[in-house]
């Protein structure tokens, strides 16, 4: 018997899935199951009807071509997403969708791609790709381990808090040691690797927010995370 069913929405899995983003979806799905919940996994692609009931949203990274393909569609559902964010729906946006959840992305050539402004961030194209293993630190989640690969440089506004402080690696802009951004229960970050498998604390936090919002309480099961813990130790020791 399940304790309830959570609708997990994958945002643009067709065009935004470049860096093992399936890993994040899979981890949320499995951990929900292991915690005793059923999962209704839904994909949203450009032109689809946006589902009425959504409990948890995850979105990934794309190439420039993927980012421009989904751009208009995303602007179309922007208000919907903002309302959901204000209502406390947890979301995880990686890399490309993290950027497009901000106000804009200005490319190296000066072209401006408008974002939905759900996160108070702006991004400009940089000249080098920031690539490598990265470790950041967050009060709630402890150390966050991942891999970054981006050329966009992101700056946070007053209404966004960073997800982590960079201990090793480049982060949002290679300047201010911030990485990622949070607003309400929404997390945006450049980290993949994939992010959630090696950071189960973030996965369970997202799940907890979704379950509490829907059912009022969350009783987690005990999950064996020793492989995750050993994989984190290894990743933190590897060359950048």
């Amino acid at each position: 018997m399940t304790r309830g069913t959570i609708t997990l929405l994958q945002l643009y899995p067709r065009d935004m899935n470049i860096y093992g983003d399936w890993g994040n979806t899979l981890v949320l799905k499995r951990r929900l199951e292991w915690h005793g919940y059923g999962v209704n996994l839904v994909a949203y692609n450009p032109g689809d009807e946006f589902p009425k009931e959504v409990d948890l949203i995850v979105g990934g990274g794309g190439q420039d071509s993927g980012q421009s393909k989904i751009g208009d569609d995303l602007l179309g559902i922007g208000d919907r997403l903002k309302t959901l964010a204000d209502q406390g729906v947890p979301m995880l946006m990686i890399c490309g969708l993290y950027q497009q959840f901000g106000h804009y992305f200005k490319t190296k050539d000066g072209e401006e791609i408008k974002g939905i402004g759900l996160l108070d961030i702006v991004t400009v194209g940089g000249h080098e790709r920031l690539i490598g293993n990265i470790v950041t630190e967050n009060d709630k989640f402890g150390s966050i381990v991942g891999y970054e690969n981006h050329s966009g440089l992101t700056t946070l506004g007053a209404n966004a808090t960073p997800l982590g402080t960079v201990m090793r690696g480049a982060g949002n802009n290679n300047q201010d040691r911030t990485e990622g951004a949070r607003y309400n229960n929404v997390i945006g970050t450049y980290l993949h690797g994939s992010l959630l498998p090696k950071n189960p604390a973030i996965a369970d936090w997202l799940i907890e927010q979704a379950v509490i919002r829907k059912y009022g309480e969350f009783h987690p099961a005990v999950i064996d995370d020793h492989f995750a813990s050993l994989a984190r130790d290894t990743a933190a020791r590897r060359p950048r």
């Binding site: 093992g20 399936w22 890993g23 899979l26 692609n45 690797g193 994939s194 498998p197 492989f227 290894t234």
Partner: protein, 426 residues
């Protein structure tokens, strides 16, 4: 005079490096340092020039096939056999092949180069022909993004002087934009629509539809894999179908075979001896670590190189896990790719019998990946040495398959040599 001096110094460094058990990179680096032009000067003496093989997956096996097919036509062929597909590796291989005066006794060279190094290479040496296999998600930490990789292949094609062969089933290579501006003849190879379904492409990953297929592109000449049952392939070109029994397993090897035929046909033109070519194709065995079988006593160890999601998925699909013990070794050195994200784009549910041993620098990343596909795991041991010993001891099946990344494959192979005689590749 300079050429001879470089040759003799380079050969000495190569000898010393080999005595010390080193790889091919050092002598190559040494020669590049003292004589930048050595590679170009040597290769441009070849009467039929260079055939360059590039793309994400299948380079080594395909290169081996092209070499054998050209040899079947009576040609003397130079190649960079070690699979160290950097320009430095080419230089090192040249050092081994030239005589004391630095002269290369060959009619033609067949070189495999990865996309990024191939672009460097073509700036020094324009290939006569190139064979472009596919553009897959691979080591994004090195190449950036897939569309950029396609641009690298385009640069290679643009530098080619006599003819280009592309895989017409690769959505990026088949695009008219890719080949319509090329001034040399462009031919293609491909597989029949029925067989095409067997190939997972990157774009078909997890609910992603394939790129809108441009209407079946028309090329002046196409070599087709028309059918494949077990290892018997029906291959069509020039209006005739031919049946060949391959030694190589896996549908992707049959696809590579038609690519090799396509470029051989282009190089030889009217002088091609088809029978000799097909006889040679039937005899080709797996390349170094690419589905290679190594016998230790009664047990057969199969090494399967995995480098990227598409390759790993194809391998899992091609080889049944029934009655087979499985080991997986994942490293994250530069040649393997540092980013582990790619493991999450491979589905492991097909490993229904479980994985006996997981190893490599990133053993715990791999174990974590298997945990989320609920695949049973035996031992997790990062040290390849200890892990292989455990695998040899705990295995129960006559066939034991080891999936490994590039540097992991080198270590596993070296360790297996302790138990048996594995062919040494210089």
């Amino acid at each position: 005079m300079r050429h001879q001096l470089t040759t003799s110094l380079g050969k000495t460094v190569k000898k010393i490096s080999q005595l010390r058990g080193g790889g091919s990179a050092l002598p190559g680096l040494f020669v590049e340092k003292i004589d930048r032009d050595f590679m170009r000067r040597t290769l441009t003496t070849l009467p039929m020039g260079v055939v360059l093989v590039s793309g994400t997956n299948g380079k080594t096996t395909t290169t081996k096939m092209v070499v054998e097919l050209l040899k079947s036509q009576g040609l003397t062929v130079f190649t960079n056999r070690t699979g160290s597909n950097f320009t430095r590796g080419v230089t090192a291989a040249l050092l081994g092949a030239v005589d004391q005066r630095g002269k290369l006794d060959a009619d033609i060279a067949v070189l495999e180069l990865d996309e990024a190094h191939a672009v460097h290479f073509v700036q020094a040496v324009s290939p006569s022909y190139c064979l472009l296999l596919n553009v897959m998600r691979d080591q994004l930490d090195r190449f950036g993004e897939i569309d950029k990789t396609a641009e690298l292949l385009y640069k290679i094609a643009a530098h080619t002087t006599k003819g280009v062969v592309v895989n017409q089933d690769d959505p990026r290579l088949a695009k008219p934009a890719f080949h319509s501006l090329l001034t040399v003849p462009v031919r293609s190879y491909g597989v029949s629509p029925d067989l095409l379904k067997e190939f997972p492409t990157d774009d078909a990953l997890h609910g992603a539809a394939s790129l809108p297929l441009v209407k079946q592109p028309s090329f002046a000449d196409t070599t087709m894999l028309e059918a494949l049952s077990d290892q018997t392939a029906r291959i069509g070109f020039g209006g005739t179908s031919h049946t060949v029994d391959l030694k190589l397993r896996g549908i992707y090897n049959a696809q590579n075979a038609v690519g090799a035929i396509a470029v051989t046909r282009m190089v030889l033109g009217d002088t091609l001896n088809v029978t000799a070519m097909l006889t040679a194709l039937a005899a080709v065995t797996p390349a170094f670590g690419r589905g290679e079988s190594i016998a230790v006593g009664e047990t057969t160890y199969e090494l399967v190189l995995v480098k990227n999601p598409a390759g790993f998925r194809l391998s899992l699909k091609s080889f049944s896990s029934k009655d087979t013990d499985t080991m997986i070794v994942i490293n994250d050195d530069y040649a393997d790719g540092r980013d582990m994200s790619w493991l999450w784009d491979v589905d492991f549910d097909s490993l229904t019998e479980g994985v006996k041993v997981v190893s490599g620098v990133r053993a715990y990343d791999m174990a974590l990946r298997l945990q989320y596909d609920e695949v049973l795991i035996g031992t997790v041991e990062p040290s390849v040495d200890k892990a292989l010993a455990a695998f040899m001891q705990q295995g129960t099946q006559p066939t034991r398959r080891i999936y490994c990344t590039y540097t992991a494959m080198l270590s596993v192979r070296k360790l297996l040599r302790k138990y048996t005689s594995v062919e040494t590749v210089r």
